[in-house]
């Protein structure tokens, strides 16, 4: 949630984190559209750069907008450890047309979070926050009526819970009571020790995905490549999809939320994978 607030703040006031000259002949001051409008949408920054490129520094890969180096909101130099991630961030910046829409740049936001750590949480606090979500996990909360929805939840969510129980050798279960499922402490410890094997950047990504999908189990399914992003988002929004099938879809609300959730979950998953991989190429000689 605070990611969205920060984005809004960024788009309102000119961010100090871009080392740029004062706005010049581009005419970047907001022009009020129409005459005497009571409220206009917050003025967005115009795209002030032509080219986006990547360069390698000591700490990792950096992004260059024209010849200026990109910086985080707290004015640190923007460095990422992985080249593929840097290319993806550069593509985000390059795909902005006339104005910069920060709310579409999820990977940049995630990198800024990982670099700045504005909530000042250490690794253990992040892990505890992530595992805490298990107590209120979406796929463990079942309804009793309407019967069609209960059936749908059983058919769609039971397999993924069973997969998680088998994969991590834990007991999770599901519940229809308002208090939620009773998660044994050993289950939590297993997840804590599993998450401890990820580095700090990947953990930020994992916690982000969990917060968006409202489910630890679905997020682990994504991280372990067991389900696709589209499927995870569908499972997370199962009740909404059920109601949409019954009552119809409202494009400006349902499709909007669906696209936004898909974008965020995909960005988080990609972020985690790119931050925690290390690729080696083994060339085998052809034996003839």
């Amino acid at each position: 949630m605070w990611c969205g607030c920060r984005r809004l703040l960024q788009s309102r006031s000119p961010p100090a984190w871009l080392s740029r000259p004062p706005p010049a002949a581009g005419g970047s001051s907001p022009v009020r559209p129409g005459g005497g409008r009571a409220y206009a949408p917050p003025a967005e920054r115009k795209r002030f750069y032509q080219n986006v490129s990547i360069s390698q520094g000591e700490g990792g890969f950096e992004i260059n907008l024209d010849h200026r180096k990109l910086k985080t909101p707290q004015a640190k130099l923007f460095t990422v450890p992985s080249e593929a991630l840097a290319i993806a961030v550069a593509t985000e910046w390059d795909s902005q047309k006339d104005t910069i829409k920060f709310y579409t740049m999820h990977l940049t936001t995630l990198c800024n979070t990982a670099l700045d750590n504005p909530t000042q949480r250490n690794k253990m606090q992040l892990i505890r926050a992530a595992v805490k979500f298990l107590e209120t996990d979406t796929v463990c909360y079942r309804v009793e009526e309407p019967a069609a929805l209960a059936e749908l939840q059983k058919n769609e969510w039971d397999p993924i819970v069973a997969w998680a129980e088998k994969r991590y050798n834990v007991a999770i279960g599901s519940s229809t009571s308002i208090l939620g499922p009773n998660i044994p402490a050993s289950t939590k410890e297993t997840f804590v020790s599993h998450l401890a094997s990820y580095n700090m950047w990947a953990l930020q990504g994992i916690e982000y995905v969990i917060t968006q999908l409202k489910s630890l189990i679905l997020s682990m399914g994504l991280i372990d490549r067991h389900i696709t992003v589209e499927k995870a988002v569908l499972l997370s929004r199962l009740e909404e999809e059920y109601q949409i099938q019954r009552w119809g879809s409202v494009e400006w609300a349902h499709d909007y939320d669906l696209c936004e959730l898909r974008a965020r979950a995909a960005a988080g998953t990609l972020f985690v994978h790119l931050c925690s991989e290390s690729s080696t190429v083994k060339h085998k000689l052809l034996q003839d």
């Binding site: 005497g36 080249e83 490549r225 992003v229 909007y256 936004e260 995909a266 990609l270």
Partner: protein, 110 residues
Amino acid sequence: MAALGCPLRTLRGLLRELRRASGRAGRPSRDTPAYRHIVAAFRAHRVTSEKLCRAQQELHFQAATYLCLLRSVREHAALHQEYHGKGERSPEEVAGLVGFRLPQQPGGKG
């Protein structure tokens, strides 16, 4: 493993999205580092001696995730522009919605 479909389809979808995503019309999308990286990665993983190659599936999953990201960002931005991007109406427009016109007050409001 996730049901991902054919890698060729993912690759083609990715290249299409990248072409749509390039903001400035000047450069062809083939010059962008993203295009080069993706094509190189797909080429590198094409030849493998193992039947079930884990790295290949990892790459395909990453590619499918990135494709989902690009596609949903584009659709989300389009929906935002269409439904939420216009701000409030002015008092004249609001009056015009129901067929009224605001009175002209040459001396300003009393």
